[in-house]
């Protein structure tokens, strides 16, 4: 359900960009999805299969780059990777950290012809 809305955003961006460039077919759509978003890869692919029908992205491949969660410590400046349960600085133990990546929901590029 939720992935339908996300995928709709991806497809409309891709179609607009392709039309603006005068392309007739989209062969590949590349997106970046942060691992801290609520997007389920399988559900996104299912939504994509459904929504692309009858558009110029009919045969397009969806490439999903999963973006790892990373933060920076506000106390000591250390940059580190973490999972969603422990956004804690491994250097000084501080919980005052700022997320630098991991929440992306971004369309990066398309290949079109």
């Amino acid at each position: 359900m939720h992935e339908m809305g996300i995928c709709d955003g991806i497809l409309s961006s891709a179609l607009r960009a392709a039309e603006d460039a005068g392309a007739r077919r989209i062969t590949r759509i590349e997106v970046s999805i942060g691992e801290l978003t609520e997007v389920v890869d399988e559900a996104l692919r299912f939504a994509f299969e459904t929504l692309r029908r009858g558009t110029m992205a009919d045969q397009a491949e969806l490439v999903v780059n999963l973006v790892q969660a990373r933060s920076e410590c506000a106390d000591c400046g250390a940059a580190f990777r973490h999972d969603r349960f422990d956004p804690k600085c491994p250097e000084c133990g501080s919980y005052v950290v700022r997320l630098t990546q991991g929440k992306e929901l971004r369309i990066d590029a398309i290949d079109a012809e």
Binding site: M1, H2, G5, I6, G9, I10, S13, A14, A17, A18, A21, A23, V31, L36, T37, E38, R84, F85, D86, P87, K88, Y95, L105, R106, I107, D108, A109, I110, D111, A112, E113
Partner: protein
């Protein structure tokens, strides 16, 4: 040919949320978005919050539901302006829906707008409405393991209400475990154990909300 796009997928929603934020700031009104599963007690919590704060603040409510006006009618029966949004199947509120709803309110004469999001622990976390704070309500019968299953909503919430606290004796809800997981996901969010039905614990939540409302009102006067 390769075409670079580099655009946020939710760009449209985020841009409208930014506009909403400006509208709320200009009016000096604080907006809180309550998120929870269906039946966790969002409407009951709103009624308890109104009872606690209506002498001090001018309050309105925006009710999000897939269908029906039931909740808006419950609020309106208490003499509080209530706007119903029917999402027509969508499982979350978006900033455009909030924009249309606030057009039906006289924001300038309000201090607090409470939004009841659609009952869902997943997608409301992804959609910025332009609100000042997202707050989630978990009810005791849902179980203490929910933060493991739905971490996103606990991460994004500025406070967590643990509702139906009166039912603790009949469920095997492990409060210490719950506090420990929420603390790991979101160390800054206070947890308010509360029974929206009996009123127990509502004062602590109302105090937290008041402090946030006053901060916004102070800011509006300075501007």
């Amino acid at each position: 040919m390769r075409i670079d796009i580099a655009k946020d997928v939710l760009e449209h929603n985020d841009a409208l949320a930014e506009e909403n934020r400006r509208v709320f700031a200009d009016a000096g009104v604080f907006v809180v978005d309550l998120m929870a599963s269906p039946g966790a007690g969002k409407t009951t919590t709103i009624l308890a919050t109104i009872a606690a704060l209506r002498d001090r603040y001018r309050i309105a409510v925006i009710e999000g539901d897939v269908a029906s006006r039931v909740d808006a009618e419950k609020i309106a029966a208490h003499g509080i302006p209530a706007v119903q949004i029917n999402t027509g199947g969508a499982c979350h509120l978006e900033s455009a829906m909030i924009r249309r709803a606030v057009e039906q309110l006289d924001l300038g004469s309000l201090d607090l707008v409470i939004v009841e999001n659609v009952g869902n622990l997943v997608c409301p976390t992804e959609f910025d409405l332009g609100e000042h704070a997202k707050v989630m309500i978990l009810s005791v019968p849902e179980g203490h393991d929910k933060p493991y299953k739905y971490p996103g909503i606990f991460e994004i919430s500025e406070a967590v209400i643990l509702n139906k606290y009166d039912t603790l004796p009949v469920f095997d809800f492990d409060e210490a475990e719950f506090r420990s997981v929420v603390g790991r996901l979101n160390p800054r969010a206070p947890i308010f154990p509360m029974s929206a039905k009996t009123g127990e614990g509502v004062a602590a939540w109302a105090d937290w909300l008041s402090a946030r409302i006053d901060a916004v009102k102070g800011g509006a006067h300075d501007a």
